[in-house]
């Protein structure tokens, strides 16, 4: 709200993800593929294998065309996109790490020069010199990964930088090493996959096929170990996201594992065992797997950092904690720099707030659509629950506005769906109750799950006993909205809760790990103890 909000059709976060996935895919290949070329060349030279040298030459041309152009420019693309979508975050990182980027730039410069020289001098340079250039490329490109890795991991685990503000504490943070190993493994994995792109047609084909497969296998074997290490080092709040029932997270985990396994199987089958099976389709599929692994990894890396973009420093909606406090007390219209309308009573203002406050992560009806997430909300309820928005499942920053803003935005949210009218019968009571639960309680509770389960409170209660508790909800926890659903919906909800909480439990649930009201106090931000690295 310091900067103008770029009002796109898709959420800015998705745009960043799109550019980042493509860049990460190619840039990790740029690291691994250079290593692959250098090693392969030295083997080929030692064995005096002309076919293999010829393969290296062709592969290096493909390598240069892809990494120099697409890899480099999408890297600039990330700069552009984050500056457009999260200028505050970009500016913050620049202020902390500009010298890290300057150092990275030096490696990048050497890397580009080496790559250009390497592809051009297959004939003209003596074998030894040519290999030296190749190895210079390897070192420079890995070092640029090394530096960037420090900045990227800092965003999730700033570690002791928070107190010391020391550059090195920021770079060599708690996840620096596991992430470095993971990224190196990914690079090796991708080097193997891309190795097939220039697979020779006849001579030397089997050799290259087996050799590339080894790289895939090596990468795929290290990957689970390093990821396990990595996830052991991430903050508690991040790890909790893995069992909060987020569909996206579940897909990403399954996808990541699935794509890795499929790549492994193809490498073993069509690479090692029967190289003649390695035709275009399996190669294409391998590339898809590689992209899939990157996509899944990036999704998770971004997701587990929520609600922050830089843990404990800056929220993902590009606001500092201190700024949110100011916004909550003074309101948006008095503090924001670029508003589309000064008229806070108009519906345009509510819409403006929607884009400004929610639009970085949500669209109206597309990606992470707001429409069905707020189905069943009325203005009153929306305005109320907005002040607890950071409590939902922990992915969102506290609401950056005052009471008037909440009402304006609430009206906008309520207008996204037609208001609910039910004719409740015995046949649909349970189904309606479930919907009401989803709209009014399900964002913050499960009944029998392990996220703030309600079973304890409602076990063995009749619907009318459950119903009697609703009016008191607002007082029960300072983090709960006041209950204001119409009578018929309340009854259906009570019926549903009573029914669910009365179900026999198949096994004992682990104790709820969800934040308690004490640790979740809105007044104790940003010190949120469950977010500390244990």
């Amino acid at each position: 709200m310091n900067y103008p909000h770029w009002q796109l059709v898709i959420p800015g976060g998705l745009l960043i993800a799109f550019v980042a996935v493509l860049h990460v895919f190619v840039s990790h290949f740029a690291v691994g593929g250079g290593f692959f070329l250098a090693v392969t060349e030295s083997i080929a030279r030692r064995q005096k294998d002309a076919a293999l040298i010829d393969y290296c030459r062709r592969h290096s041309k493909f390598f240069a065309l892809l990494t120099l152009v697409f890899g480099t420019i999408t890297g600039v693309g990330i700069w552009f996109t984050i500056g457009l979508v999260s200028p505050e975050a970009t500016s913050t990182l620049i202020h902390i790490f500009v010298w890290a980027w300057a150092i990275e730039w030096v490696f990048f410069f050497v890397e580009i020069s080496a790559a250009i020289i390497y592809v051009k001098t297959w004939e003209s340079l003596p074998a030894h010199d040519h290999q030296v250039v190749g190895w210079i490329y390897v070192v420079a490109s890995w070092m640029s990964l090394f530096v960037i890795n420090g900045i990227l991991t800092f965003m999730l685990t700033p570690g002791s930088w928070i107190t010391t503000h020391n550059f090195w504490d920021g770079i060599f943070n708690p996840t620096f090493l596991p992430s470095l190993v993971t990224r190196t493994a990914v690079s090796v994995f991708l080097a193997g996959i891309f190795g097939y792109v220039s697979l020779p047609k006849s001579e030397g084909r089997d050799k290259v096929a087996r050799w590339s497969a080894l790289w895939i296998v090596a990468g795929a074997l290290v990957l689970p170990l390093s990821l396990w290490w990595y996830f052991a080092c991430i903050p508690q709040f991040s790890r909790l996201y893995f069992d909060r029932g987020f569909i996206g997270v579940r897909h990403a985990i399954r996808g990541g594992i699935g794509f890795t396994l499929m790549a492994l199987v193809i490498a073993l089958l069509c690479g090692l065992w029967k190289p003649r099976w390695m035709r275009r389709p399996p190669v294409g599929f391998l590339l898809v797997c590689g992209l899939g692994v990157i996509g899944a990894g990036e999704y998770l890396r971004e997701f587990v950092r929520k609600p922050w973009v830089i843990n404990q420093v800056l929220y993902a909606n590009d606001l500092r904690p201190a700024r949110i406090d100011a916004l909550q007390s003074q309101g948006v219209s008095d503090t924001a720099n670029f508003l589309l309308t000064p008229d806070t009573a108009s519906s345009n203002y509510g819409e403006n707030l929607f884009y400004l406050q929610c639009g970085k992560c949500h669209s109206v009806a597309g990606y992470r659509a707001m429409r069905w997430r707020v189905d069943g909300w009325d203005t009153e309820f929306a305005a109320d629950i907005l002040q607890h928005i950071h409590m939902l499942r922990g992915t969102m920053p506290p609401y950056p506005g005052n009471k008037g803003d909440r009402r304006s935005l609430g009206r906008c949210l309520a207008s996204l769906n037609p208001s609910w009218q039910f004719t409740i019968t015995d046949a649909n009571r349970l189904a309606v109750g479930e919907r009401v639960f989803g709209a009014r309680c399900g964002h913050c509770h499960t009944v029998n799950g392990n996220f703030r389960p309600l079973r304890g409170a409602f076990e063995n209660r009749t619907p009318s006993q459950v119903r009697a508790i609703f009016p008191a909800l607002g007082e029960m926890s300072s983090n709960m909205p006041v209950f204001n659903a119409p009578d018929d919906q309340a009854q259906a909800l009570a019926f549903y809760i009573s029914h669910e909480a009365g179900k026999p439990m198949p096994f004992k649930q682990p104790p709820p790990e969800a934040p308690t009201s004490r640790s979740h106090s809105r007044f104790a931000r940003p010190a949120r103890p469950w977010q500390e690295v244990p």
Binding site: N2, V9, V69, G83, W99, I116, K120, S124, Y355
Partner: protein, 375 residues
């Protein structure tokens, strides 16, 4: 609420002194522009000579086009690489202005990325196919060149907009989705012509220098290059004075007055004009002398000096524009001296490494890196 909203930069201190970032910004921008001028100016030179060289009576054109073809992708590679450095430092000093203006023209700004990728592949395509004279290659080069012209236009838009905060609010309200262009600013068009024409001028100076070095191997070809490029250089430099004047008249009166009353700015401006004239004279005279090439080389050097001075002047002009809104002197600074020292050491190491690789290439003798494309 302020009438002209300026985003604040937050509470973190700058990790180095302002002067250091200023120097790095000006130097990296100069190098970036030199590379950019080679890509853009080289593009039009290659295009012209490619089509001219299709007639049998112009073998020199044909030869020059194919030599340029091999260099063009590398020019673009260094344009991007050096541009990244300038992008980094401009964000340190002027991030709040730069991000805001980028957001206002967001769609076009982001379009730069796919456009650059396309132009870059177009250059590579040309470099692989120009010699074989395949039908499409001139056409592809023409497209790439036009795309680069478009990219340059977006850049000029953004750089002008970032120093005109008073235009922001209205622009944002008109199109919050980033479909804006900054053409309401009268200085944008002359500024654009100034930089594109300047690119052709500077590359012509580079080419004159290149031609001189060809003289020894092939007198006729070398002289042909030198004379042509000297003519183009002189013509473009002449034009450049006109565009420059137009630009000076198009910037707001009160800013022009401050600029022309600022002793430092006037000194830099005067020196830039003199070095431009000197470059023009040296290259023109040198191109007529058959053998003596010191003059052309000196002229080439002077044109680089002019570029540097113009970048300095541009910086000073920006500071005048931003005077009411930015005070670099007031920024908190907490230098990361150890890291800065490490950067310097690595930078020198990096230069040495690249130098070492170039020496390997030179020693092998058979190829010159700049004149040989990937094959």
């Amino acid at each position: 609420m302020q009438t002209v909203p300026i985003p604040q930069t937050g509470s973190l201190p700058l990790p180095g002194p302002v002067w250091l970032f200023t120097v790095l910004l000006v130097v990296s921008l100069t190098l970036h522009l030199a590379a950019m001028n080679s890509a853009l100016g080289g593009g039009i030179w290659a295009l012209w000579n490619y089509f001219r060289g299709r007639h049998a009576e112009h073998p020199n054109s044909r030869r020059l086009a194919s030599e340029l073809a091999l260099m063009l992708p590398n020019f673009l590679a260094f344009t991007v690489t050096l541009g990244v450095a300038a992008l980094l430092f401009v964000q340190v000093l002027f991030g709040n202005f730069f991000y805001t203006s980028s957001i206002l023209i967001g769609v076009l700004w982001l379009a730069v990325i796919p456009l650059l990728i396309a132009a870059y592949y177009g250059f590579y395509y040309f470099s692989y196919t120009s010699e074989k004279g395949r039908g499409m290659s001139g056409f592809v080069l023409a497209i790439s060149f036009c795309v680069l012209l478009g990219v340059a236009f977006v850049y000029v838009n953004n750089m002008a907009l970032m120093q005109s905060p008073e235009r922001w609010q209205a622009m944002y309200r008109a199109h919050p989705n980033g479909w804006n262009l900054n053409v309401g600013d009268r200085s944008v068009i002359p500024r654009y012509l100034h930089i594109v024409n300047g690119a052709i001028a500077l590359f012509s100076a580079i080419l004159a220098h290149f031609g001189m070095r060809k003289l020894k191997a092939d007198l006729e070809y070398g002289r042909w290059i030198v004379q042509r490029s000297a003519m183009v250089f002189a013509a473009c430099t002449g034009l450049q004075f006109l565009f420059g004047m137009w630009m000076l008249m198009a910037i707001p009166r009160h800013i022009a007055i401050v600029l022309l009353q600022d002793p430092l700015a006037v000194t830099v401006f005067g020196m830039a004009l003199m070095s431009a004239v000197a470059a023009m004279l040296l290259i023109l005279l040198g191109s007529f002398a058959e053998k003596n090439n010191a003059m052309v080389h000196a002229g080439f050097g002077m044109s680089l000096v002019t570029l540097f001075l113009m970048v300095c002047l541009r910086y000073l002009l920006r500071m005048i524009y931003l005077k009411p809104y930015a005070n670099l002197g007031a920024l908190a600074v907490s230098p990361q001296n150890g890291v800065i020292a490490l950067f310097m050491v690595l930078f020198l190491g990096g230069l040495a490494t690249v130098g070492y690789m170039l020496r390997l290439v030179a020693r092998s003798g058979k190829t010159r890196i700049s004149a040989d494309g990937p094959n």
